[in-house]
């Protein structure tokens, strides 16, 4: 009840997607386990489907579809489990990327996935994420700041000129924003309606 009242003040009278959006940190076992399981989900979808498509399309030097899935699942984790859960999701994914050697820039995922959840949690605690514009606008800072470390790693590992690297990263970011805004919103609403988390 208290949360609902606080929510009315915080989100302009709108009920957010998850009760976890009332706080930044959630250290319950459920949030930690949820973070791990979403990290595994992200890895399975990326390694099984998206990275293959990316490799076929771009040769694996930039990741429009894997970036999209990464953003969808990271957003879900930030919304439903808070910052610790989102960090765990990102680090689980980064660890599996290193374990499986799925990409030579896997080491960069560690830094990327530490930064991304911070921005994602900050934004999802200011917006209820119930409207389409929340996703399209909110994802712009999340993706552009969150994926910044990857630019350095792509430039260093592939020795591509900065101009080319930034162009590739921008394309990855735009694809990630579009995919995550459309599919992320639909999936997040589906989770809210199902009531499996709240």
């Amino acid at each position: 009840m208290a949360q609902a009242v606080a929510g009315k003040a915080k989100f302009g009278g709108e009920e957010p997607l998850s009760v976890a959006q009332y706080k930044y940190f959630d250290f319950r076992v459920k949030a930690l386990v949820g973070g791990v399981i979403l990290g595994v989900v992200m890895t399975i979808i990326n390694a099984g489907i998206m990275e293959r498509v990316d490799t076929a399309l771009t040769g694996g030097t930039w990741f429009p579809f894997a970036g999209g899935t990464h953003s969808i699942v990271s957003m879900l984790s930030a919304i439903f489990f808070g910052l610790p859960g989102a960090w765990i999701t990102g680090l689980t994914n980064a660890t599996f990327a290193v374990v499986t050697g799925s990409t030579p820039v896997a080491g960069g995922f560690i830094f990327n996935n530490l930064l991304y959840p911070i921005v994602a949690t900050l934004v999802t605690r200011q917006l209820s994420m119930r409207k389409w514009w929340h996703w399209f606008v909110g994802l712009i800072p999340i993706v552009f700041i969150g994926y910044a470390p990857m630019t350095y790693f792509v430039h260093t590992i592939f020795q591509l000129p900065w101009g080319v690297t930034i162009r590739f990263q921008t394309l990855t970011n735009i694809a990630a924003i579009l995919l995550a805004a459309i599919f992320g919103k639909l999936i997040a609403e589906g989770i809210r309606k199902s009531g499996v988390v709240n």
């Binding site: 930690l32 399981i37 490799t55 040769g59 599996f96 080319v164 499996v196």
Partner: protein, 255 residues
Amino acid sequence: MPLITPYSYKDNLIHKLDPRTKLLWFLVMLILSIATRQPALLAAGIGLVVMVSLAAGLDIRRYWPLVKAMIPVTIAVVILQLIYAEGPVFATVGPVGLHSLGFEIAFTVMFRIILIVTVCLQFFMWVHPTDLALTFIAFKLPYRYALLFGLSLRTFPVLERELVRIYDSQAARGLELKGSLRKIVRLIPVMLPFVLRALRRTTEVAIAMELRAFGYEKQRTYLRSIQFTRADWLASSLMVLTGLAYLVWYARTFV
């Protein structure tokens, strides 16, 4: 090919080294692979990783599928470097000039990619998952978080099977899911049930863990233990000194 290469125990001195020593080797090789820009030195690095793997009794044939998977990445890098590298143009394809320096950079990147993926795979072939968790605990990470990696390894095959079941169920309902493009367009009918089932599993696992008082005590006991022995000190010192000597020599010779 399974996504994760399994750990297997080997009875030899290198394999018995502490996971922290192996982690140091992993980090040293990663740093050197990023710092080095000479293809011959990177190729020598790959040779070193293979030799150490053989000495540790690892099955080096397991590296091959991963190296093979990097071929498309390598081809893309060669093309991009030929187009974007500096240096004189040796040929033109339509409006695009191909630069001679591109080949050298492409070879460097190719060897770097192979070195990075082999050293990544090597690390998880000779470090037991529980030992990795114990390493995190040794670095003062609370066990509540350190043990989550073990949980992810256990959940991985279960969720993989679940995804296959969801694909089969949706296909039985008449949803065409063959081909990469269809899989992307029809992401929602697959991903939503997959995420929902995963989240339901979260609740079940969390309740089971809480009922076993997971995280209640600050300290706990473990079946396995790790120990930093004299051999580990020796190996670690050797790695750090050799790594530093290499960087100094490299900076004086090539930079």
